[in-house]
């Protein structure tokens, strides 16, 4: 049960839906320790992605779909999240380029490349209270699940669960990157909006695979 372009498309559609649904939640999280636009930024970006889905060639690979997401996010989201998510999707697309079907190893490669892309662009380390705190445990959990011989859906489920825990775990942290870093101790007690949106997007990826 490998993952194909249908999965990628379901992931993308689900992403647009989840971002729209959680727009206010993400705005609120960002208002508390940032500038209150994260939900708006992602909603704008994924709305644009959704429109572009129709133009996707019928023979597009999952990598092609993710590359379209990357370029669209880069050119519509802006802020910090635009370049960061854009790079994540771009690197993810590169890691699975040309593959029509993704097996577990490909899924782990995709997630690893995405995480590395964020780190490359944003220079944040785990514990800095950024989206890296969702992506990093997700990658680790995915790798473990692969090593344990689980299938793609289970790998993504493990990644999403770890990302959710990672997002929650940003709450007690002081931020070292992004806008929340200006707050010092005052960021404590608030969840990082980018980590939260990352967890939401990974959960959708898992759901899209479970439905496959």
């Amino acid at each position: 049960m490998t993952l194909n372009t249908d999965w990628a498309v379901r992931w993308i559609k689900g992403s647009a839906a989840v971002v729209s649904e959680h727009r206010v939640e993400l705005i609120t999280l960002d208002r508390e320790i940032g500038d209150g636009d994260h939900g708006e930024n992602l909603d704008r970006g994924f709305s644009a992605v959704l429109l572009k889905l129709d133009d996707l060639p019928t023979d597009a690979t999952p990598g092609d779909a993710l590359k379209m997401v990357a370029t669209t996010l880069i050119s519509t989201v802006g802020g910090a999240a635009g370049p960061l998510y854009g790079t994540a999707y771009l690197k993810a697309a590169g890691a699975i380029a040309g593959q029509a079907e993704l097996d577990g190893a490909a899924v782990v490669a995709l997630l690893t490349a995405a995480r590395d892309g964020v780190v490359l662009r944003g220079k944040a380390a785990p514990g800095d209270k950024t989206m890296v705190d969702a992506w990093s445990p997700a990658v680790d959990a995915a790798a473990e699940a692969l090593a344990a011989g689980l299938d793609e859906a289970a790998i993504l489920d493990a990644a999403a669960t770890a990302a959710e825990a990672g997002a929650r775990a940003t709450e007690p942290l002081v931020a070292r990157k992004g806008r929340a870093s200006y707050l010092g101790e005052r960021a404590i007690g608030h969840r990082d909006p980018g980590a939260q949106s990352s967890a939401l997007l990974l959960r959708v990826a898992a759901d899209a695979a479970a439905g496959a």
């Binding site: 705005i27 636009d37 880069i74 519509t76 802006g78 870093s181 707050l183």
Partner: protein, 333 residues
Amino acid sequence: MKKLINDPRRVVEEAVAGFEAAHGDLVTVSHDPIYIARKNAPRQGKVALVSGGGSGHEPLHGGFVGFGMLDAAVPGPVFTSPTPDPILAATKAVDGGAGVLHIVKNYTGDVLNFETAADLASADGIDVQTVIVDDDVAVKDSLYTAGRRGVAGTVLVEKIAGAAAERGDDLAAVAAIATRVNSVTRSMGVALTPCVVPHAGEPSFTLADDEIEIGIGIHGEPGRERIKIEPADAIVDRILAPIVDDLPFASGDRVLLFVNGLGGTPQVELYIVFRRAAEALAERGITVSRTLVGNFVTSLEMQGMSITVMKLDDELKELWDAPVETAALRWGR
């Protein structure tokens, strides 16, 4: 939320159209992607200056496009950095062959999006250099933060670098002077009230009726501390000390003193602030040689102000005094 808008998602688009209608003698506006360019750009042989960032800080940056200042401004959505596309388009539109200086306020989003645009412009053979403005002393600059924020000092960087470009300096020289302005400029702000971002519909933060936020950022980012309101003079002393100590400014210095309104503060209050700031500098033996007072780098309707002090030398003074002709800053022509 009560605002004079039609649609929260069309605020920037419509405001830029209004700006074009009002200042068509000074600028040309591109609507897709959105940027504001100086009339008759590009100017062959002149280094071009491009700045930009989230909207909501007007007149920054669009109000500073014109002779002796910016060649283009790229407004993103309210409080959100523009994407690379319009930055790239603006960069291409104003390059006159002598290269383009990107003036970028130090926020992760602005830095990353301008970085991508600069990479793409370079790939197209345009010489781009970038100067990061980070004049806000409210936030400690350390390895453990995103660094200091760029705030009102940006206006001084844009004005002085613009004058250098206008007199014919090459890209490296213009970049060097912009860097120098940033290095001798320090700012800090205080908020009395929050602002409401149109798409958010709710205040960016809440302050009690007797509270003010010391060290506020221009997007409503919290500052150093929240205190009970004090007399204006005490507030000025409180934020001037870290400004002066940071560089540090010293007795004998000549400076430009800039009191900036955050958008919703009456002018009488800005001048009450200016009065004490000038007096406090004089008490330290620092001479105020140039002045600027007004709403130049705002946070929508936020009430509050920031103080910026720039150390002057003869060259900076001369470039400050040089003619400028933009919607928001104009003298000498």
